[in-house]
Subunit: 116 residues, 2 copies
């Protein structure tokens, strides 16, 4: 489970925040910096379990962050630096985003050495 | 909500299958064809609500498919063509994958014209 990109998560139940977005064409440098910073800040939050993120060449991306419970998500939403950066996302970085908050009930996976 | 890439979903509750994966370096053509075909077959399944997908340049991707309920997910898992293609994924297309099945409890979003 040490493959970069994958979150190493406990057994369910836990919560997932599924953030789908299309990037605007604006402020690539500021966006990249803020994305990195948000991950660093999230990782310091109590209740943060991990995150996975992918963005394709067309600018459509999905980031899923994982949390112990709804209370941890609420604390993250209220975190001041996160709230400030989120506002920039709303009016600058994203032409469209959708957020779905979900309770993970079961999980499974597979790692195969030699297929890299 | 007609932005390509985004699923148009009903109000929660509904279910999400979060599929995170790293592509192997093998069989790009077969993988691309099967991915397209799976979306077509899924769209014909009862209980299928939509899907969103992103894969970055490093081969790490997230696909989230949305379903009315657990029973619809179980029917999809048993669908014969899907089961056959899934087997190829297991030993050929993915070096690592993780699946999390979650119940979406709430959702919100924002579309901003003029930011494309």
């Amino acid at each position: 489970m040490s493959d970069s990109g994958f979150a190493s998560l406990p057994k369910p139940p836990y919560y997932a925040v599924i953030f789908s977005s299309r990037r605007s064409t604006q402020d690539d440098a500021g966006y990249a910096q803020a994305s990195q910073r948000m991950l660093e800040v999230a990782a310091q939050q109590s209740g943060f379990l991990g995150a996975e993120s992918s963005r394709d060449a067309d600018g459509f991306g999905i980031t899923v962050s994982y949390w112990t419970d709804e209370a941890a998500i609420a604390r993250w939403k209220a975190q001041s630096e996160h709230a400030a950066i989120r506002e920039r996302g709303r009016w600058l970085w994203y032409s469209h985003f959708e957020v779905r908050v979900a309770k993970v009930e079961r999980a499974y996976g597979q790692v195969r050495a030699g297929l890299e």
